[in-house]
Symmetry: C2
Amino acid sequence: MATLRKLAHRVDRITSFHVMALLEQAQQLEQQGRDIIHLEVGEPDFATPEPVVRAARAALAAGQTRYTPAQGLPALREAVAAFYERRFGVSLAPERVVITPGASGAIGLVSGLLFDPGDEVLLSDPGYPCNDNFLRLVGAHPRRVPVTAATAYQLSPALVREHWRSATRAAWVASPSNPTGTLIGAEDMAAIKQAVDQQKGALLVDEIYNSLTYDQAPATAVGLPDTAASLFVINSFSKYFNMTGWRLGWLVAPAEHVADLAKLAQNFYLAAPTVAQHAALAALSDDCIDIYEARRLTLARRRDFLLRQLPELGIGVPCVPQGAFYLYCDVSALTDDSFSFCQRLLQQAGVAATPGIDFGEYRAREHIRIAYTADESRLQQALERIAGFIRQEAAGEV
Amino acid sequence: MATLRKLAHRVDRITSFHVMALLEQAQQLEQQGRDIIHLEVGEPDFATPEPVVRAARAALAAGQTRYTPAQGLPALREAVAAFYERRFGVSLAPERVVITPGASGAIGLVSGLLFDPGDEVLLSDPGYPCNDNFLRLVGAHPRRVPVTAATAYQLSPALVREHWRSATRAAWVASPSNPTGTLIGAEDMAAIKQAVDQQKGALLVDEIYNSLTYDQAPATAVGLPDTAASLFVINSFSKYFNMTGWRLGWLVAPAEHVADLAKLAQNFYLAAPTVAQHAALAALSDDCIDIYEARRLTLARRRDFLLRQLPELGIGVPCVPQGAFYLYCDVSALTDDSFSFCQRLLQQAGVAATPGIDFGEYRAREHIRIAYTADESRLQQALERIAGFIRQEAAGEV
C-alpha cells in the first residue's frame, strides 16, 4: 500500500529537545530505584497558590464553562492593565491586552500577524528554541546572532543594527532570558526599539519571566514610546504566577493591531481556557502577589547559593543572571561536548541538567543550563554529587 | 515616526466572520432593550454536566495544576481509546490518541505535520472557514470544491478524484459537517480513503460533531483500514461533550506519526490544559454519556420541529441533516444576498442567523445557517417572527 508522498519539510528541521532524551533516561533510572535530582525542569516547583485554585473552583461552581471573547475576559484584560500600573507605574489601555492560551498562543498570534515566507527575524544564540519553530511554521527564518557574556548574552542595539538586512522584519529579545537569566537594561531596550523602528521593523519582547528578577526592580518594555505601533510584549501566567498547567498568557500589542490579532485568535484557537482566566483574576490580587514575592525571595536565595558554590567546582557563570530561575554555566573547563557531559552527569551522579545544544549552536557544547527549581537542600545535595562526579572524571582522565 | 513596513500577507486574506458584525448589531439592539433570538451560535446551549465540573474541582483540590505530557494524560488517552471500543466497536491503541487544546490544536498539529508552502488541500464549499486559515498559516492553499445537495454537500469519491492534481496533498472532510449537518456514509468514506491513498495523499476527517447524529447510529472513520498511515481524525470535547470553554480536543493519528506530532506539540503549545484533561475523564464515563444521550434526543426534537416548519415559510432544507445542530437553509426564494437578508432579519424581526457567505462562495448568497442551540419554545417564537418578517418583505416588494 502507498504511504504519504511526504511530510512537511519543517518537520525535519524541528528537532526534539535533547533534554527529552535525558529525561527518558532519568525516568528509567528512577524506575530502577535511583534518586535523580532534577535541575533541568523549566517549570516552577511551587504549586499554584490556594487563592487561585479557590477562584477556579468558584468559577466552575458558578458554571463558567463557555467560550470567552477571543481577546479574553474584559475583567482580566483590565486586571492585567492595572497590574502594569501598580507594579511598573506604566499606564496601559486594557484594549491593548490580548489574553492567550499560554505565551505559546501569544507567540503564534504575533508570528501569524507579522511574518511571511522568506522574512527573517533576529534572535540571540543562545535563546529559547521554540521561537525558531514558530517562525518556521509560517515560513519565516530565524536568524540567530551569537552573543556572549560581553552583552549579557543579549542582542545589543549595535548587534541589531549590524545584523539587520533587507529581509529582516523584526528583532525578538527575551528579558529575563531563557536559558541565561540575564536582562536587557532600560536604555538598551529603548535603543533596540529605536534601531528596529528606523528599519520599520517590529520588536518582540518575551517577558515570560517578567517579575522574576533579583537585586533590581522588575522592569517592562510595555512603557516604551511606540508611535510606530511596532512593539509586541509577550507574557505568561506560567512562571511568576505558578500556573503552568492552566495554559494562560497574554500579549500587549499596539492598539491598531488588536482587531487583526482577534481575527487570528478567532480562527486559530477561539479563546483561552475559561476557568484559567477566572483563576488568573485571583492571581493578580494583592494577596497572591504577596505569596509570589515570598517565592521570588526563595528563588533569589537559591540563585545566590549556587552562584557562590559553582565556581569552586570549576563551573563558571560568566554573567550573573538577574532573573528567571536559570544559570547558564560555562563548563568548557570540563568538557567540549555538553550533551555527553549531561548524560554522564545523569548516569553517574544522578543529576539532570540541560545541555547547551538545546538553546543554539554558539559555544553550545561548552555550556549547560541549570534550573534552580528544586529546594536548597536538594541543590546542596546536587552540588556534592557534581563535585564527586568531577573528581571522578578528572581521576579517570589521568 | 516610521510604522511597520508590512504585516503578513495572510492577514488580509483571513476575513472576519460576517456573523461577528451581526453579533455586534445584535448586542446593540439588546442594549436598547430588544429581545433577540440567537440562532447563529455554534456553541451548545447545554452547560457542562455536573459530574464533569465535579471532577475538575476535585482535580484542582488535589493540586493537578502542572503541565501534562505533550500528548496528554496517559489515562485520558486510554479513556478515549476505550470510548471508541465501547461506542463504535473499534479497537484503537491509546498511543494513537493525541490530546490537544481544542480541535484547533489538533488542526494546527496536522497542518504543521503535513503541509508545505504551495501544497493544496481539497475541501468542500460550503465548509468550515477556519480550516482555510490554518492552511494559509503554513503557506498551503485550500481548494474549495463546490458541492450540492446531490452529494449531501460533501466531497464524494468522484469529486476527490476529479479535483486532485499534482500539488494536492490531502482531502479534508467533515462528518457531520458544519454548516450543513450532513454525513458521509461508511462506503463513501472508505472510497474517499482509497482515492486519497492512490495519490499517496492524506485524509483529514473532522469529527468534531461526532456522536451528535440523528435517525442513525453514529459512525467514525477511525476504524478504516490504514496501512498507508494517511488517516487523521480530529475530534473535540466542545460539542457532544458540552465543554467549549475548557479548550480540549483530540487527534487520532497513524502510530508512526505520533512522535513527530508530539514534537510539534512540545514546540507549539506544550500540553492541553491540565484541569480540562482531568474533567474529560469524567465526561467519558457512562453516567455522563447518559446525560449526553438525553441531550442529543432534545436536539433531535428541535431539528425535527424545524424541518417540519421551515418549508412552510418558503425556506428550503434540500438535504436533511443527520448530525451536528445546524440546518443549511436555501433562502433563494427570498433573497440573493444572504448577508443583507440576515441583517434585515435581525433588525426587523430580532432573529440572528449566520449568512452563507461565512462558509464559502458557492451559492453562499442564497443560503443561511440556522443553529438549533435554543430551546423549542424559542425556536417556535423565532419561526413566528421569521414568518412575519417574510410577509412584511413580500408586502414591501409589491
